[in-house]
Amino acid sequence: MSEPRLVEVRRNVLKQNDVIARALREQFRAAGVFVVSLVSSPGSGKTTFLEKTLTLLQPEYRVAALVGDLATENDAVRLARSKAPVKQITTGTLCHLEAAMVQNALQEWKLQDLDFLFIENVGNLVCPSSYDLGENLRLVLMSVTEGEDKPLKYPTIFNSADVAVITKNELATAVEFDWDAARKSIESVRPGMQIFRLSAKTGEGMDRYLEFLAQRLAENRSVAQT
């Protein structure tokens, strides 16, 4: 019998996804489109938030969205009301989007005709954290009804995100939302992360967040040109 021996291989398990994500990022850069991915738990108001974002950006910017959903096309139908191009990625039983799905879904779109592309991930605060989609900005969304310690319960996804949005602020008083506690939990798992507090329903606070997006788009383009 041969002696078992140890051979070092050092292979990143997600390498295939990372390679596609890098290619996507380069494609986005060449086309001058700014790509935002959205992660949140189910029911946090992601689709309402995105519908509002698409609607408010449109007079000035060319926008589109990819929507990941387990089984239904309901989200895509809702988002289509914004009149922006929307495409559904039905993941079946898969709990997250992967870079290859984004690549496939984008095949028929001319990216150079867009300013912003939004990718709505499947409602899940665990699985999407491992997968790079080539996005420029990962936005984590939570609502005031979810509890201030949500970031402490899901530190990995909050840590992997670039910016946080706390929505459904119109309900904050009713649910006695503790803004300082929420800010502290976010700061603890992701020091220095910018936080926007808003209501997608009433539109309160949306302007500051939209200005931020516009600024990031401009910065991204000036970097891409040099």
Binding site: M1, S2, L6, V7, L14, K15, G192
Partner: protein, 121 residues
């Protein structure tokens, strides 16, 4: 629960490496970071399922847990975080996002035996 697709990725990577070397794999050593987003128990369970009907069937998955470490700008050294709920230096308390370890999801090594020997047994 995305551990099954991760487990399938591990089996695929290990199978490729084994075929290239012409060896049989008896165990896979994985480095798993606390920030990888992968749950160890779910992964161990999924691994068995993912190995079925592959050359790795019957192999073991040995997981090395990698804690999160950050570089502290004040202490000027790498520090292991006490918990992933607090991204601050455990010694001086300065918040930091300069993560040095903890995102690993890597097939680090394989325990192998030669194929020929396998046949002769």
């Amino acid at each position: 629960m995305h551990e099954l697709s991760i487990a399938m990725g591990i089996v695929e990577a290990a199978t490729e490496e084994a075929q290239r070397r012409g060896v049989h794999v008896s165990a896979v050593h994985l480095r798993l970071g606390a920030l990888s987003g992968v749950v160890k128990d779910a992964l161990l369970f999924s691994y068995e399922v993912a190995c079925q009907d592959t050359p790795l069937e019957g192999s073991r998955l040995i997981v090395e847990d990698i804690p999160v470490s950050v570089f502290c700008p004040r202490c000027k050294k790498e520090q292991v975080l006490a918990s992933v709920q607090s991204f601050a230096c455990p010694e001086c308390g300065v918040p930091t996002m300069d993560v040095r370890h903890g995102k690993e999801l890597e097939v680090f090594a394989l325990e192998v035996e030669d194929e020929e020997e396998e046949v002769r047994k």
